[in-house]
Amino acid sequence: MEKTKGRRMKAGYPLALLAGASVGVLGAGANTALAKQTRALTDDCKRYAPTVGSANSNCAVSGSMTNITYNTPGIAYRDANAIGVSLETELYLWYSNHYMDRSGYGYGISQGDSGGGQTYAYCFQSAGAQTGFCFTDYH
């Protein structure tokens, strides 16, 4: 009986170690999630291309971009605006108040705030159909 218990205990060690590792990983993940949540309280992000996403959810996930120009569905105080694409090409970012019209060539550009006032955010990529995303941080 004692021997059997011993085997049970030995067999239980890997499970115990796995449980311990899981607790550690989940703890660290929760800490990171909390940090993201804290940032989100002051600064939300939203993907506006190729499809409009939910606030603070998958802001920089690429999809099929069929248009060359996209813009946000509404106005807000913009803290940042960014585009990322798979094919390097001419890229533009701008706000509807025409503050910080930015352009370049590469696979991504990101710009800072819109200088006050509520604006639309725009992104443009000249390669035509390709994969990519545009998102903005706003408050």
Binding site: K5, M9, G24, A28, A82, D101, G106, I109
Partner: protein
Amino acid sequence: MKKHRKRWLAGGGIAVVAVVAYLTTAWAIAAPKDDGGIPSNLPVAALPVAQLDAATVTQMESLKMGVSSAAVSQARLVGATSLGSLYALPDSKGGVCLFLDDTIACGNPNTNAKKLVALFADDSSGNLIGGVITAPGVQSVTVGDGVKTAHATPVPGGYIVDASAGLSALRHKLTLATG
């Protein structure tokens, strides 16, 4: 007693593994990416590493291009423009980024069709201001705004475009060519 000791040992093991796993995961999430430096064959890589002020470092890291503190520590000063200093720094994809006036652009001159990465901003008059870094062997860069073209001014490690070029940032008709 033996039974209790084994339980204590098992419990202690779980706690140790949990702490180690927590620290390892937290480090993996927080650790800056190893950006490996600017590709060594690019002319801009030969420039000395720049000394950046704290405000510039904060701006570079806050922009949404995943620029790490390791990358910022490898920044090179490409040149001065009327909107401030133009810097080049490595990115996490093996390419290079340009930073100017709270904006960053990234690409890979070694692999893209035009053999360059470019970044332009508008000044208060709508002039196109910025710069270009190129792959080895490029002898000239021509920039256009849809109406006018101009040669970018060569500087050690890249090219600069300033208001004197007379290009507009507001037409959104950027053209770039290397020679």
